[in-house]
Symmetry: C2
């Protein structure tokens, strides 16, 4: 088996390769193809690539991204940034999350001695606390203002952006260098409307940047995120930076938009059938502690079982996956192995201590998920 | 504040206690009360207590359970047993999960040199593989036969139990010492029927044991599980052992049965409000990477916010919890802290590296979640 023979319905791992399950395996060739795909896409858009590291949590993959031209990384939490800076040698990180609380500000100040750090803000309360700490330390922190373009999660409303940008830019110790948005709502919209929803988010963030500049604040960066929107939002003139995360592995949440096929998914959970008590029910050793409970909009169940499109992972307990089988489905005897494309690969990675790296069907390496569990 | 003042709607952590969030805090006095409650309940039933360690994953709490009279532990996976034996000094463990595959059997053999291990089987395929390995190693492994009493997960059907028990007891290297069931379906049934459903499961497993004994196989143990059923199933005459897990902390999934109030929940996620962009929406720094996505049958959302019964944790991304607030709800300004009772505490513990131990509102210790992430 060579990697190019591998299709969506072919196992990544050779049948005679021994693996203690459940395990998360990564096909290195597919991973490298995905990294190149997004690096090329960023180039074709003419924007900087600043991948979100939450998907892989791996300093090894981070270095591959930087070698392919990424300008730096995006992290959600300081704890992730600490790992990538101290174990991965990364020197430029955007923390795309509000930093709130004295303990975190102290950790942020320490990181600023080691790398170029930019932090996202979306409230004057958080900005003022950062400002006081930076001024007291004689430091200047670069910040992006987060703007809500429809995700309705964090981010100021576009109509409020100029006022708060003004207030932030007046604070000592802060330098407002950009605006950012996470247009995750594009990927959640129906396949036929993702392009329009993503483009609308792009227009909103670019217009917001222009209004802030018109008010005299010379921000440089206009940053957008979200893998499924990567073909659309960064195409908006005026966007300078994109922050996709999931693309390194892709997952079930991406298929339905038609840009990516399941054969491009680089990460799979390998599981073993451990119980078979009814003709229509098999139990696999991957439960919610391995697959996570994220639903898929593409199809029923908690993951796509490669080669068994009609088998549904119907229920998960922590260590049991209950698979409902169509009549006559082969391959689910006790001891049989299956490969599963997770619905959402990021939490599945976060549940693992290591990724098993596969070349041509063989496990050739184990990469630690070094930034796993860094919720703070 | 003393621990006895703490009610369901009072924070566990003192307002002036500094905590970097999100964090999982455990009120030690409540934990000790819960441990005593279940030890007493087991005594009142006249059955052995063999707690399932999956909830706490902590050798420190395991030792407390053994000191209170537990006969040993239950684990789901070998990897958990390895931690409790090698880091916790536990000497008697039931692995309540089928052991399938050569790698796992090799690990099992190693553990048998260090502790008394019993393993659950529910298929002849798995039993035969274990038998071959044990016979080759000149060892004898104690096994329980898992029986399905309505959960429809693993476990042989009661009508098939005598035949498979016969086949297992004829295998060299295995000693069939008990039957077990997990009656988790009792806790999922409506509050008014849990007692009946649990009692029916108890009758089924006891009758199954009697039929196996009548066939000449002298099994000693009849083992049942599940915290919400702990008041009912083990009361069945003939049950010898109970394996509750969640009771150490309790969680939202337990309230609705009326035996336990939220004030008895010992573990809470402490989170900080990090964004507040609309009157009816706050964002907290606990997402699915902290709370997990398990639903609750007790109430809407992904956890119960202490003191804010009408605030609903409506959506979770990995690091964001989107809270929908009723009009005029106080206490959700950026920087405010909240305490959340998780819907399902076991996966929330599995997402953390440590438990923050609280006495009288102060963090007094940090206990590692040593068996976290042991999916194999």
């Amino acid at each position: 088996m060579t990697a190019t023979d591998v299709t969506a319905e072919t196992p990544i791992v050779a049948a005679d390769e021994q693996i203690d399950t459940p395990a998360l395996v990564v096909d290195e060739e597919r991973l490298r193809r995905n990294l190149a795909l997004m690096a090329d896409l960023a180039k074709s858009h003419g924007v900087n690539l600043r991948p979100h590291a939450k998907t892989h949590k791996s300093p090894i993959i981070a270095r591959m991204q930087l070698e392919q031209g990424a300008v730096g990384l995006t992290c959600a939490k300081l704890g992730e940034a600490e790992v990538f800076i101290r174990e991965g040698g990364v020197r430029d990180i955007l923390i795309a999350y509000p930093i709130v609380g004295e303990a975190k500000i102290a950790r942020l100040l320490a990181l600023m001695d080691e790398a170029q750090i930019t932090v996202v803000v979306d409230s004057l309360e958080a900005a003022e606390a950062l400002s006081r700490a930076m001024a007291a330390a004689g430091r200047t922190l670069d910040v992006y203002l987060e703007v809500n373009t429809g995700m309705n999660r964090a981010g100021v409303e576009p109509n409020d952006a100029v006022e708060i940008a003004h207030a932030i830019s007046a604070l000592p110790g802060l330098r407002l260098t950009g605006v950012m948005t996470f247009e995750g709502h594009a990927g959640s919209s129906p396949p036929e409307s993702i392009a329009d929803v993503a483009a609308a988010a792009g227009r909103t963030i670019v217009e917001t940047a222009e209004r802030i500049r018109a008010a005299g604040i010379p921000i440089a960066q206009v940053s957008v995120g979200s893998t499924p929107a990567s073909w659309y939002t960064p195409a908006t003139a005026g966007v300078t930076e994109m922050r996709p995360g999931t693309y390194v592995f892709f997952d079930n949440s991406i298929f339905r938009h038609g840009r990516i096929g399941p054969e491009q998914c680089a990460a799979r959970v390998v599981a073993t059938v451990v119980s078979r008590q009814a003709p229509d029910r098999a139990v696999i050793d991957a439960g919610s502690k391995t697959l996570a409970l994220d639903p898929s909009r593409s199809h029923a169940g908690y993951g796509y079982i490669v080669g068994h499109p009609e088998a549904i992972i119907e229920r998960l307990s922590e260590e049991h996956g209950m698979v409902t089988l169509p009549p006559g489905e082969p391959g689910f005897a006790v001891g049989d192995r299956v490969e599963i494309i997770p619905n959402h690969v990021c939490p599945a990675v976060n549940l693992m201590d290591e990724l098993l790296i596969v070349q041509d069907g063989r496990v050739v390496d184990r990469w630690p998920v070094a930034a796993r569990g860094k919720v703070r």
